[in-house]
Amino acid sequence: MKPDTPSPLLSVRGLTKHFPVLTPGFRRRQTGVIKAVDDVSFDLAPGESLGLVGESGCGKTTTARCLLRAIEPTAGVTLFRLPDGRTVDLARLSDRELKPVRQHAQMVFQDPFSSLNPRMTVRDIVGEPLVIHRLAQGADLDDRVSAMLARVGLRPEHRSRYPHAFSGGQRQRIGIARALIMRPSLIVCDEATSALDVSVQAQVLDLLKELQRDFGLTYLFVAHNLDVVRNFCDRVAVMRKGRIVELAATRDIFTAPQHPYTRILLSAVPSPDPDVKMNFNVGEELAKLDALTG
C-alpha cells in the first residue's frame, strides 16, 4: 500500500465464526466446532474493491455475513468509519445501535431470483429501505426511486412491475438499486454476477464500476470466479478453510502468487486460450499440500 493511504473505511481484526457440531437425536450434545471463519483480518481503504475468493465452504460468504451482522460472529473486531467521522465496532453494536449504521453498509446478493420479494413491485422493493429508515415518503420517495432506477439502467415504467417480469440481469440491477438508494459507503457483493450469462455479467460489472466512481463506493467483492475478480478488484484475498492464505494487489496475486494454494487454484482455471493448458492434476497437488500443512 502507498504510504499516504487514508485511514481504512473498514478494519477487520481476528474475525471468527464457529458453528457447533452437535450429536444427532434429542440431546444434541456438542462434540466439536467447525471453524467457518478463523481469525480473519484485513483493511478496506475507501474507494477500493477488495476481492474475497475461494471455493465453496472456504468461509468467504460467512465472513461477508459476519461483517454486516447477518449472522453473529463468535469473536473479532470490525471497525467501520461512518460518514460523520465516528468509528463503530460493527461486531459489538446492539441491534438498536446497528439499525442506523446499516444504511451505510449494504449487500447485493447472488441469486436475483430469490433475493427479491415476488409479491412486491419494483417501486416497493427499491423504496423499502427508505421507508424502513424513515428517510423519505410520498412524492419524495417516488422521485428518489425513479432517479435510482434510471441510474442503474431501468426505465420509469418498470416501477409498477413485479420481479418475475424481468430477466436475470435486470433483477440484479433492481437489487443494486435497492442497495444504493441508501447512499451507502460500503457495498458487500456476494457472488453478485455469478448467476448471469457472460455478456450480461460484463454489463453488470461495468455498471458497478461506474457507480463506484460516481458514488465513491467501496466494495467487498465475494466471488468464486477468479477471472471476474482479476478484472474488477484492486486487491484480492484468497481464503481456504476459514483463513485468508494470501492477500495482495490483484496483479501480484495473478502474476506472482506466493501461497501454494493460490498457485493450485489459479492453475485449475480453464483458460479460453487453447495454448494455455490448464492443470488437470489439482487433486493430487491439493492432497500433497494438505499432507505438508497437516
Binding site: N231, S271, D273, F280, N281
Partner: protein, 278 residues
C-alpha cells in the same frame, strides 16, 4: 459394423425442434447441422436460451411436450448396432431403448437429475449394466466396483452401499460419470457437467472425462457456456445463438480468429479478455 473411416459417428442434419405453447410456437432449434467424428469432442457453446441443451436432449429423444422434433435427421453410425436414424425411431422401439444409455449416454449439470435419492449408488450403476448387458448380478456388481474405482472414488465397496445424499457434489458427479460410461457408450453427451462445481473439482472432473474418453474411445458432445472449458476440452466448437449455429470450426480457429460478430461479442465479454476498467 464397418463404416468408411471418414464417416462421422454422428450426423445431425437440419434439426428443427419447436415448442408448441398456448402463446404460440417457439422455434428452439432451427435448422441445426453438425457432425462428430469418432473419438473427437465437439463443444456446443452459447448463452442461456440459445438452444444448446434442447439440441443435446433431441439426440436422445428426451425433448418433452409441448416440445417436439419437427424436422431433420440424427444419424448415429454405431459400431455395434449399425446406422440408426434416431430422429425417426418409434418411441417404444427396442433400438431407441438401446441407444439411450447403451450407445449414447448423458451426464447432466446437476448430478441429482440422474441419481435416484432412494437407491444406493451401487444399485443404480448395477441397474444400468443389467439393462444393457447380458451379465449376472454378481458380475454387474464387480463391473460397478471396478468403474467406481476408475472414476476416482476411494473405498468403492463402502460407497457402493451409500445413498447419493451421503456424497459431496464432486463425488456425485463422479458416480454419474461411472454410470454413464459403464456400458462403454460410443457417444457421451455432457450437459454443463462442471458448471455447479468448484474450479479445483471441475479440473478433476474434466481430467477424468478426458482420460476415460481416451480409454473407451468414445466421442463427446460437450454442452457449455464456458469458453475456458471449450478451449481445454474440445477439438471442434459450434457457437449457438437463438436456436441457430452461427459459427463452427476447430477450437483454435474459432477462439483465436472468430469470424462471426456474435462469437466476437461473447469472447470480448469474457472477464479474462476485458481490458481492466479503472
Amino acid at each position: 459394423m464397418n463404416f468408411p473411416p471418414e464417416a462421422p459417428l454422428l450426423d445431425v442434419r437440419n434439426l428443427r425442434v419447436s415448442f408448441f405453447t398456448p402463446d404460440g410456437v417457439v422455434g428452439a432449434v432451427q435448422n441445426v447441422s453438425f457432425s462428430i467424428a469418432r473419438g473427437r469432442t465437439l463443444a456446443l457453446v452459447g448463452e442461456s436460451g440459445s438452444g444448446k441443451s434442447v439440441t443435446a436432449y433431441s439426440l436422445l429423444r428426451l425433448v418433452q411436450p409441448p416440445g417436439r422434433i419437427v424436422d431433420g435427421r440424427i444419424v448415429l453410425r454405431s459400431q455395434r448396432a449399425g446406422e440408426i436414424d434416431i430422429s425417426h425411431l418409434d418411441e417404444k422401439s427396442g433400438l431407441l431403448f438401446r441407444v439411450r444409455g447403451g450407445l449414447v449416454s448423458m451426464i447432466f449439470q446437476e448430478p441429482m437429475t440422474a441419481l435416484s435419492p432412494v437407491h444406493t449408488i451401487g444399485s443404480q450403476i448395477d441397474e444400468a449394466i443389467l439393462v444393457h448387458q447380458d451379465v449376472s448380478p454378481a458380475a454387474a456388481r464387480r463391473l460397478t466396483l471396478e468403474m467406481l474405482h476408475k472414476v476416482g472414488i476411494a473405498n468403492a465397496a463402502q460407497r457402493y452401499a451409500q445413498y447419493p445424499h451421503e456424497l459431496s457434489g464432486g463425488m456425485r458427479q463422479r458416480a454419474v460419470i461411472a454410470m454413464a460410461l459403464v456400458c462403454r457408450p460410443e457417444l457421451l453427451i455432457a450437459d454443463e457437467p462442471t458448471t455447479a462445481l468448484d474450479v479445483t473439482i471441475q479440473a478433476q472432473i474434466l481430467g477424468l472425462i478426458k482420460t476415460l474418453q481416451r480409454e473407451i474411445g468414445c466421442s463427446v458432445l460437450l454442452i457449455t457456456h464456458d469458453f475456458g472449458v471449450v478451449a481445454q476440452m474440445a477439438d471442434d466448437v459450434a457457437v449457438m445463438r437463438q436456436g441457430e449455429i452461427v459459427e463452427r470450426g476447430s477450437v483454435r480457429a474459432v477462439l483465436k480468429n472468430p469470424q462471426h460478430a456474435y462469437t466476437r461479442t461473447l469472447l470480448d465479454a469474457l472477464p479474462s479478455r476485458r481490458a481492466r476498467v479503472m
